[in-house]
């Protein structure tokens, strides 16, 4: 049973309450740590595994190896080929997913109580004993190459790729996790096995589980599932990514009716003492649904775009803040000028009213996130990856409440640097600054 302790609030604008999910910190007999929420109401378990870092550990010249390796985990193990593995999984009605990102690789699973042991054993075989058969490597490689080809013609992907390339250069962040046509074509079975050894190690593991399982059962499950993983890896850490993109506008000419506008600048680390203030500032600028400043100025007042959003990206090797929107080629220049103006304005801080509205929204929305085994499991593993304590759930809203407009003014000045804001535009925008 998930115990979300919510105070009863009777009037509309009193502060919504704290969420208090009953998290148990579990250590398996074999020494694997996990966070658990027991929820026996529905007879299944949602399990989340993360290994940090992920594809950023691709070795020099082997970009795409970690991604291809993760794509191959469900393509056969032992006497099961890809189809045999899929059939075995379907017989158990279990669901497994394997994803590669730069900062982490993610394995998500859900399985029924009635056949939990079999489902965990099949998952174990895919993680610990993948076959990496050559025919599977070749087949999945073709799939990856097709993704790379598709991304190369898709305007949003073109824009993001160009921005990352300019910002991060030769660092893994400067290219896509899928790799390039050349790097993927050259990957061998040895490279895939090396990527497996580099990434899936216990020192880099974070685990959460939510559902119909006790702490004792989870401990035994984790030892069975992951006990055979090597403890550590000797692969070199890529180090800081830097930030090399020039301020101003980089145009990628592309024949589409609507220009894609991607923008960003350096940002805060997750452990920055002012991270909460930055989070609230981002919410007011462009983080929140319909009523952020950018949505108001660009969409509601001017009809320039269907949607505009901003984010804070405190990644492992670089921290940035930025966003994305699209506008018809005729109006893209106006969209860019709205974004630039709002970047100047947010650097000056926010009003009391804006801060109050943001606090009400953020503190009210927080407990509502914890509604479902899968969602809770995902939040819990994310907290561990961010190095947050269990107690964060209880203190987070109070930390947001404590912020004052003076704090936000000080932090806004430090965070937002209009002179360092970079744009990549993909399309055929008319009348950009600097055009003749």
């Amino acid at each position: 049973m998930i115990r979300l302790v919510l105070a009863v609030f009777l009037t509309l604008l009193t502060l919504p309450a704290r969420a208090a999910v009953d998290i148990q910190e579990v250590t398996s007999p074999g020494g694997i740590n996990a966070w658990l929420v027991e929820e026996p109401a529905i007879p299944f378990v949602a399990l989340e595994l993360r290994f940090l870092p992920g594809a950023a550990l691709d070795r020099t010249g082997k970009r795409g190896a970690v991604n291809l390796m993760m794509g191959l985990l469900e393509e056969g193990t032992g006497d099961l080929d890809a189809q045999g593995f899929a059939a075995a999984r379907d017989e158990l009605a279990a669901s497994y997913s394997y994803q590669a990102y730069d900062d982490a690789v993610a394995i998500s699973a859900k399985f029924l109580s009635e056949n939990r042991d079999e489902a965990v054993d099949l998952l174990r075989r895919s993680i610990i004993e993948p076959a990496f058969a050559q025919d599977a490597i070749d087949r999945v490689r073709d799939q990856v190459l097709s993704v790379i080809a598709r991304n190369a013609v898709e305007p949003n992907e073109i824009g993001r790729a160009r921005f990352n390339e300019l910002a991060y250069g030769d660092h893994p962040y400067g290219s896509a996790v899928e790799g390039t046509v050349e790097s993927v074509a050259a990957l061998t079975r040895d490279d895939i096995m090396q990527a497996h050894r580099d990434v899936l190690v216990r020192d880099n593991l974070y685990v959460s589980a939510v559902g119909d399982i006790t702490a004792e059962e989870l401990g035994a499950l984790l030892d069975t599932l992951l006990g055979a993983l090597p403890q550590s890896t000797d692969v070199a850490d890529p180090g800081p990514a830097g930030w090399n993109i020039a301020p101003g506008i980089e145009l990628v000419e592309y024949d589409v009716p609507q220009s894609v506008v991607i923008f960003g600048q350096p940002g805060f680390e997750r452990d920055d003492p002012d991270f909460f203030a930055a989070y609230v500032l981002n919410d007011i600028l462009g983080g929140r649904g319909f009523s952020s400043r950018l949505m108001e100025e660009a969409r509601v007042k001017r009809g320039l775009t269907y949607g505009i959003g901003t984010f804070l990206a405190p990644m492992e090797y670089a921290a940035s803040t930025g966003g994305q929107a699209s506008s018809a080629n005729e109006s893209a220049a106006e969209l860019v000028s709205v974004i630039s103006d709002e970047w100047v304005r947010i650097a000056e801080g926010v009003t009391e009213e804006e801060l109050a509205a943001a606090k009400t929204y953020l503190t009210g929305a927080y407990p509502l996130r914890f509604d479902g085994n899968e969602r809770i499991a995902s939040i819990l593993v994310g907290m561990q990856m961010d190095d947050l304590p269990v107690s964060y759930i209880a203190t987070r809203n109070a930390d947001i409440e404590a912020l004052k407009v003076e704090d936000l003014a000080r932090v806004a000045k430090r965070l937002y640097q209009p002179e360092n804001l970079s744009f990549v535009i993909v399309g055929q925008p008319e009348g950009l600054p600097g055009d003749g």
Partner: protein, 443 residues
Amino acid sequence: MFRFATALTLAAAVPATAAEVTDFTLENGMEVVVIEDHRAPVVVHMVWYKVGAADETAGVSGVAHYLEHLMFKGTDTLEPGEFSQVVEAQGGSDNAFTSFDYTAYHQRVAADRLGLMMEMEADRMRNLRLDDRDIATELRVVQEERNQRIENDPGALFAEQRDAAQYLNHPYGRPVIGWMDEVESLQLEDALSFYETYYAPNNAILIVAGDVTPDEVRALAEEHYGPVPPTPDLPERTRPQEPPQLVERRLVYEDPKVAQPYVIRSYLAPERNPGDQKTAAALTILAEVLGNGQSSELAQRLQFGTGEALYASAFYSGTTLDRTTFGLVMVPAPGVSLPDAEAALDRAVTEFLDEGVDPDQLERIKTRIRAAEIYEADSARELANRYGRALSIGLTLDDVESWPDELRAVTGEDVIAAARDVFDRRNAVTGYLKAPEAQEMTQ
């Protein structure tokens, strides 16, 4: 295995649930469904109008969707944008969506804010107030939405052309968001006329899912929606139907921005109907057998067997008011031409029809269907959507609740019989999406 996004809605065999579901009807004709989930103090509040883009009259395509945007623009008592601001001030989130057969408005809030959501939703059911400037700006937003979803994406433009070719007479042949030239000339009167005709409690379904009891919902619904008078002269929900289709339509859409060519074929197909879901259930299982996952027939034959496909699948969604489509899609492996891919797809389907359904595979699919009932109880929001979609096309709660049994009852023979009926080339549209020959890919 990597998943290909070919802008298809893949039909999942997802049945109803064991969750506690209650229904009743208000005196003014508004249907109410309550789905209880007491694990977290959260509630999803949705109002589904039984009207969508396929109910538009010719010449004003996109008006149902445009009106959905305008519904956030204020009422006698709410300023433009205030609806969403109030929801956010509760820590909630809100949005809306428009489809061919329905238009739905929804909020997710703390359970004790349900009354406020109902008060505001009931208000904008009748009291919308629009000013010229708001609506002109919002029309630009809709055009940008169309740019973003369709105009910038050759796959989406191709899908629009295929739908238009699929339906000779039925409005499913028009895009939900509307054709750009008609969207550009939409008028306030068009939206208001649509609003006044169709937005009424006796044309709406209220769905509340989460930490509530039916008694609480009934009391609040009677307080807030109860006073809204019904519309006495709701139009009957009939649309122009398809004439007999006599000949396959074939399209080749070329765009230099296509990196991944594919062949796709859709056939006109029967849909779920009240008390009559057998054929739709067989087609749902057929799509699973042919196309869902690595152990499906098309994957086995074309990806693992001959290696002619990078990806091959089938799709079907029977939850529509009028005739829907059953589809096959294949992304050829490098070096395989689209005509060869199409021939391979046809050969694989023919072989499957001759050999029949693998009983082990059918058993696995039924296991998954049973498990889906357990997994889906984890998301009240998904359950609410499932009920909303079904009820808004006229299915009953009985139909929704018997759907898993209908799926479980399907035999291998049923699947093959349904396949033989549906795979009639006279009802088909076959499309190739590709880059022009001998043209270099440029950025």
